[in-house]
Symmetry: C2
Subunit: 147 residues, 2 copies
């Protein structure tokens, strides 16, 4: 079996963010990986679904649980192009995700603003991978929105 790298998976998340961008959504994408295989892909769809809960991470967790037939995802890794918000960190907590890799920081709405760790104590977190690429896409989206 070919072993894929973290960069490969984050790039797949970025492709999801690109789809969001093209559909006029804030460009955030996510994939969930289990044993080196992508089991869920999602992008932010809050506009299309008229639903604030339709963040990429929430949709990806729902899809991954559906794929595995399990509420809990301790053997799974989430790759997401933006730091999860409070809501999504709460969802990651409940899912007991094994690892979270996020690209760009979100100083305004990211879960790390909070003093307490909102994630499950067993969840490993890695940040910064392809952060520039993610930030460029987000900046470009908001620049377009303002014009």
């Amino acid at each position: 079996m070919e072993l894929f790298s973290d960069v490969y998976f984050m790039n797949e998340a970025l492709k999801q963010a690109q789809i969001a961008f093209e559909e006029g959504e804030i460009p955030v994408g996510a994939v969930i990986v289990c044993r080196n295989r992508i089991i869920a892909k999602a992008y932010n769809q809050t506009e299309k679904l008229t639903d604030v809960t339709a963040h990429a991470e929430i949709l990806a967790i729902t899809a991954a649980s559906n794929a595995l037939g399990s509420k809990y995802l301790p053997e799974c890794k989430l790759y997401v192009t933006l730091e999860p918000c409070t809501m999504c960190a709460g969802a990651c907590f409940w899912a007991q995700l094994g690892e979270i890799h996020y690209a760009a920081n979100d100083p305004k709405r990211g879960y790390t603003r909070h003093q307490e760790n909102l994630l499950h104590p067993k969840t490993k977190v890695v940040s910064g991978l392809l952060a520039d690429e993610s930030k460029k896409l987000l900046d470009s989206f908001f620049r377009k929105l303002r014009n």
Copy 2:
């Protein structure tokens, strides 16, 4: 138009919690009210849907946004039988809910454990209504689970 009281709406949320109980789910129920009318009802379905994000509040917010055709719910009141968790408080924040009424406290997972206010600054919060009834249902569920 007949004006319903907070007790009436919380009791409707309790009826939803009772359905959850009967279906073997942790008994939490919610309704969302807009201009004195219930526009969404939901109960916890994490087991049935194999999805940690299927809390009563999340399902109710999705349904209410669908009913109104709006992502934002500033004119809506959420009645929920248990204090929202971090994830659900995050969803309430994004939806900019006008009011949240919750019955029982959740000292272990409730959002008020956090030092920061996780809700939207404009969201009014009321707690304690029918708290005993909600707690009784929850206690009965966990007692049954242990036996």
